[in-house]
C-alpha cells in the first residue's frame, strides 16, 4: 500500500448519518476545489451586495450550502455551482430584506463570470506564493505581526513569545489567533486576482 496523505492534516471524522459523502471527504474537496476560487466569489459578492458588513456572513453561508450539497453529491462543475449558490443566496436575502431590487441580481450572468476568470492557476512558481505570504504578514498590525513571526518563522512556543514580548500569555494567544485569521483573509482573498491584475 502506498502512503500518500490527502492533505497534511485532514481532520477525519465519522461520516454523517444519511449523507453519502463523509464530512472529511467534503472538507478535502472544499479545500482543493472551492477555496481556490474565493477571490472570484468575494468579487462576485462585493459587486452585487451593497452592505459590505454582510460579506463575510454571505461567504460563510455560501460555503455552508455548497458543502451541505456536496455531502449528498459532489457537483460536476464547481465554479458555476458555487457562483449559482451565491446568486440564489443573494436573491433570497434581497427578497427578505427588501433592500436591493431583485432584478438587479437575477440579471447576473453567473456563467459569464465563471468562464471569464482563469481557473485557479496552480502552476504558480513558489516564489510568487512567497511574495504573497510576505505581503499578508506585512499587513498585520505591528504587535500581532511580531507574535506571528516569532511563532511561525522563529518557531517559538506561545509561552516563549509572551516572555519575549513582555506580554501575558492570554495576549500572546490573542495576537496569534488574530494573525492567523488575518493572514488567511489575505491569502484566500488574493489567491489569484481576477482579471490578472498584478
Amino acid at each position: 500500500m502506498i502512503e500518500i496523505p490527502e492533505t497534511s492534516r485532514e481532520d477525519a471524522g465519522p461520516p454523517r448519518s444519511g449523507a453519502s459523502v463523509s464530512t472529511a471527504e467534503v472538507m478535502v474537496w472544499f479545500a482543493r476545489e472551492v477555496l481556490p476560487m474565493e477571490p472570484t466569489l468575494m468579487h462576485f459578492l462585493r459587486s452585487n451586495w451593497r452592505n459590505k458588513d454582510d460579506i463575510d456572513d454571505l461567504r460563510q453561508d455560501v460555503y455552508l450550502r455548497v458543502c451541505e450539497a456536496a455531502q449528498k453529491e459532489f457537483p460536476d462543475h464547481v465554479r458555476p455551482f458555487v457562483l449559482a449558490t451565491a446568486r440564489n443566496l443573494l436573491i433570497n436575502r434581497a427578497r427578505r430584506e427588501r433592500v436591493v431590487p431583485i432584478e438587479a441580481i437575477t440579471d447576473l450572468d453567473v456563467t459569464g463570470i465563471a468562464m471569464d476568470v482563469p481557473s485557479p492557476e496552480r502552476a504558480a512558481i513558489a516564489r510568487d506564493e512567497l511574495r504573497r505570504l510576505q505581503a499578508a504578514i506585512d499587513h498585520l498590525p505591528p504587535r500581532c505581526r511580531e507574535a506571528f513571526v516569532l511563532g511561525r518563522v522563529e518557531g517559538l512556543t506561545g509561552r516563549e513569545i509572551a516572555a519575549r514580548m513582555g506580554i501575558s500569555e492570554k495576549t500572546a494567544s490573542e495576537h496569534l489567533a488574530k494573525g492567523i485569521y488575518a493572514v488567511a483573509e489575505t491569502l484566500h482573498g488574493e489567491g489569484v486576482s481576477p482579471g490578472g491584475k498584478r
Partner: protein, 327 residues
C-alpha cells in the same frame, strides 16, 4: 451530532466562527496540546459544519504560511557567512561528482568526508535503506546514491536514478540531497527525486523542502510544499502542482507498479525499460504516439508487449535482447 439543515436559523456571525477557529489553531500550534485539548477541538468541530468549514479554511492558509518558515530555516540570519561557505563546498563537491561519475572513475577520492556509504540498485531492483536516525530512503531501479553524515548535517548524493525520501526532521542536523548541480534541503519531509541526464524532478509528498540551484546565480531557495513538482531541464526551472492521484501514480514503483494515464507508447516503453534488462523498442512514430492508460508490474515487460499486440494491434518482433514493436 447536530444537524445544520436549518439554514434559516440565525447562525453566529462568520467572523465569530472564524475567530474561534483561529484560536483553536493557535492553541494547537503554540501551547500544550494533549488528548484532552484534541477531544475539545473534535467536539467543537462536530458541533456544526460551519465550524468545520471555518477551521479548514484557516488551516489551509496556515499550512501555506509554512513556506515562510521554510525559507527562514534555510537561511538563518547572522550565520550566512559560514553557511554560504559550506554550501559553496557542497556545490563544488556535487559538480565534481557529476564529472567524475560521467568519466567512469570512482568518486571516492574526492570525498574525504567521514563515513561515506554508497548504495546502488541494479536494473529492476527496489531497495529501502534505513538510516540510523530513523529516516528511510527507497531506491528505485538503476540508482546510485551516497550518504555521509557529520554531527550537524546529513548529506545524500543522488548520483543517478530515482529515490523516495522519508526524512526525520532535525533542525540541528540538516538533511540535504544533492543531485547534479542542485540541492534539496529537507525541512521535515517525504519527497521524490528523479535524476536523468538533462532533467531533474523533485516532487514533494509531505512536509516542506527547500530547493536551491548551485549554478552560482542562486536566488533565494524555492520552497516546496506538498503537491509541488519541480522540474529542471535545459536550465529552466518549472514548478507545477500535481494531484494526489498523479503523485501516487508516479510513486507506483514503491509497490512495484508502473501506472500510465494517457501516456504515449514511447513514454511508457522508456519507463518500463528502466526496470528491465531486455528493452522494448518502439520502431515507428505512428506506434510511438499511440496513447495508453494501464498499470503494469515493473517487471511486466511481457504484459506491456501483450497489450501493444492485442489491444493496439501492433507487430511484435523479438530480436536478440530487444523486443521491437511496430505498426
Amino acid at each position: 451530532m447536530s444537524d445544520l439543515s436549518g439554514q434559516e436559523v440565525a447562525a453566529p456571525s462568520a467572523k465569530d466562527v472564524a475567530e474561534q477557529a483561529a484560536d483553536w489553531i493557535q492553541r494547537r500550534e503554540f501551547w500544550t496540546w494533549t488528548e484532552h485539548e484534541q477531544a475539545a477541538l473534535d467536539a467543537w468541530l462536530a458541533e456544526s459544519l460551519a465550524h468545520r468549514i471555518a477551521y479548514t479554511r484557516l488551516e489551509v492558509a496556515w499550512s501555506r504560511t509554512a513556506r515562510v518558515t521554510a525559507l527562514r530555516s534555510s537561511r538563518p540570519a547572522g550565520r550566512s557567512a559560514k553557511r554560504s561557505w559550506i554550501s559553496l563546498m557542497w556545490m563544488r563537491t556535487a559538480a565534481a561528482l557529476v564529472v567524475v561519475t560521467a568519466a567512469g572513475i570512482g568518486a571516492e577520492q574526492y570525498f574525504k568526508a567521514p563515513l561515506e556509504t554508497t548504495y546502488a540498485t541494479a536494473v529492476g531492483e527496489h531497495e529501502t535503506i534505513k538510516l540510523a536516525d530513523g529516516s528511510r530512503i527507497e531506491l528505485n531501479t538503476g540508482t546510485i546514491l551516497k550518504t555521509s553524515h557529520t554531527d550537524t548535517r546529513r548529506l545524500v548524493k543522488l548520483v543517478k536514478g530515482e529515490a523516495f525520501f522519508i526524512i526525520k526532521h532535525d533542525s540541528s542536523n540538516s538533511f540535504t540531497v544533492i543531485a547534479g548541480n542542485h540541492r534539496v534541503t529537507d525541512l521535515g519531509t517525504k519527497f521524490l527525486i528523479r535524476s536523468e541526464p538533462n532533467r531533474l524532478e523533485v516532487a514533494l509528498v509531505e512536509g516542506r523542502a527547500a530547493f536551491d540551484s548551485a549554478d552560482g546565480r542562486a536566488q533565494s531557495p524555492i520552497v516546496l510544499i506538498p503537491g509541488d513538482s519541480l522540474v529542471v531541464s535545459d536550465n529552466q526551472i518549472r514548478t507545477t502542482r500535481k494531484s494526489t492521484q498523479i503523485l501516487a501514480d508516479e510513486l507506483g514503483w514503491r509497490r512495484g507498479m508502473l501506472v500510465f494515464e494517457n501516456a504515449s507508447l514511447r513514454e511508457a516503453a522508456d519507463e518500463i525499460n528502466r526496470y528491465n534488462a531486455h528493452k522494448v523498442v518502439v520502431a515507428d512514430q505512428a506506434a510511438a504516439q499511440m496513447k495508453i492508460s494501464a498499470a503494469f508490474p515493473t517487471t511486466g515487460i511481457e504484459d506491456f508487449v501483450q497489450l501493444a499486440h492485442q489491444l493496439l494491434g501492433l507487430k511484435v518482433d523479438r530480436r536478440d535482447g530487444e523486443i521491437v514493436i511496430s505498426r
